[in-house]
Symmetry: C2
Subunit: 320 residues, 2 copies
């Protein structure tokens, strides 16, 4: 029997799995936990289940080297110093695949919501400003045969491209370190340099991980190449966009709009200027928020813990 600490409430199915394996699980039921409190809780634990919002850095790991596994409840793990964890002999796992569909669908939802001005249109109706049928009101952007540029052609990016191709007969461009032959064959996708891609795309959707190469990838110099009237979607990590540069581009009316499920910082303070644009939709990092995805994430994150505690291989280890 091991002690396991879970930093937030997650769907019960995973917790039940841990308990059925004979482990003792403590779940934090508050919405925030200081680093000090977390350290205290983890003291007698062998396994830790973390969220993106938990900072698992070298200093933290130094004091928790007794942990056997850190199971991250997300696909990204930029909040964890994985190399350092490894040096302490701690296995790190994540939850890839099970949230691919949900995250790609969220990017797709944001795209359509921005293209058809659903937020300002619905606000107009509920505020009593709907006076009649307007031949020139809330004119949106058709996505039929649009050119879609994917930044990062991993699982989520490819699924987003597949949906755009299927629904809108889109032409697919992609930017990636490596050539994706299957993706090219399946969807007629074309690999391009980033500047070329942004200059040709009606829709830009970011799906790459955050690392030193992708931080502020969308900066002032790249935005200068973006096609007029393009829609920018980010469901990856806020830091991939230089937000000051984005604000400038929005002020210049170059973009049709933007859909951001991730920002820098998170939460984005309510007085942030990004909220003032009615062509920008901001959601509170809900990419993987479907009932189905979160259930599957819960089962996968907890199976990883059970496996490592039993001395077998985790299903989805993070390797560095």
């Amino acid at each position: 029997m091991a002690n396991i600490f879970c930093t937030r409430e997650i769907p019960r199915s995973g917790i039940r799995l841990l308990e059925q394996a004979g482990h003792q699980v403590t779940v934090n039921t508050t919405s925030s936990l200081s680093q000090q409190q977390l350290l205290k809780e983890v003291k007698n634990c062998q396994a830790l289940l973390t969220m993106l919002s938990d900072t698992i850095d070298a200093e933290f790991l130094e004091q928790c080297s007794h942990l056997k596994i850190i199971s991250q409840f997300a696909v990204g793990y930029n909040n964890i110093d994985v190399a350092c964890a490894k040096s302490h002999g701690i296995v790190v796992t994540n939850t890839p695949d099970v949230l691919t569909e949900a995250t790609a669908e969220l990017a797709f939802s944001l795209l359509l919501c921005v293209a058809r001005k659903l937020l300002p249109a619905s606000a107009n109706a509920s505020a009593g400003k709907w006076t009649g049928w307007e031949p020139l009101g809330f004119l949106g952007k058709s996505l039929h045969k649009s050119t879609v540029g994917i930044i990062g052609a991993g699982r989520i990016g490819c699924e987003f491209a597949r949906m755009c191709k299927g629904a809108f007969h889109s032409d697919i461009l992609y930017y990636s370190r490596s050539k994706k032959s299957t993706f090219e064959q399946l969807y007629g996708a074309t690999q391009l340099q980033l500047k070329e891609l942004v200059s040709q795309s009606d829709v830009l959707s970011i799906h790459c991980p955050l690392n030193s190469e992708t931080a502020h990838l969308f900066n002032e110099s790249l935005f200068a190449h973006v096609k007029d009237g393009a829609i920018l979607i980010n469901t990856a990590r806020g830091e991939i966009i230089d937000q000051d540069a984005l604000l400038k581009v929005l002020e210049s009316n170059k973009l049709f709009g933007a859909g951001l499920d991730v920002t820098s910082p998170e939460p984005l303070p309510p007085d942030h200027k990004l909220y003032t644009f009615d062509n920008v939709v901001i959601t509170p990092h809900i990419g993987s928020a479907t009932l189905k995805a979160r259930e599957e994430m819960s089962l996968l994150a907890c199976t990883n813990i059970v496996n490592v505690l039993e001395g077998t291989l985790p299903l989805t280890p993070v390797t560095v």
Copy 2:
């Protein structure tokens, strides 16, 4: 040269076409026009370009029998007594096809917006209630492999089904007076009786015209058969749904949510109970509101006028 009255401002391209054909065009630039004012304006006109919001009934037509054509700037024409117009020798035209894509895309946008709770999620962020990443917040409904029921398998319904099939690999069911063999072959669609269709569908989307057979088609007795957790989309006409019955169903939490681009009446008064549900998205009848569709509607509606005034056939006459 003829005099033409246009009841609202529309994209300039069509007006230019009329002027280039040598006609005198008067465009109403206010947002409302009383029946009395309209009658006065039309007195010396040979052609009238109308919106859905204009009531062209027997009484009106009695006083305007001198008109040669009423060109409706919409695909639906339930605001016009077409049989009566015909009896006065007035040609009625509409704008089919050119708004198919835009309207189907709007239905699709509303579906995704409801499925992923974009309105309450974005309101949460902008109101400063976003406190961190929430493992159990704003859990949406995945549409992957969902069963989609189309009510009315005309152009718009078929295009909506095509998008759902393409993006989500959906199974397509449809309710229609006639069998649609091409639709069945292309998308593996299955024709069903309405009660059976609503009991099997995760998504219901209304795309039939409003007439005596479809008015209040969605009433309390039909809602009783709707699958738990379904999403209902209406981009056709508000009167196809009995709104009191819809309110009851929403109060019982049977539906995951609803997306309504059309209501009864329009505009829907801001104190209407439908606005109080955070799983209902209401837009102010913007189905055909894309730049592209409205441009094409303008050109088609005005070409119909030019043709009839020149004594040739209109491109898209309404027949009864």
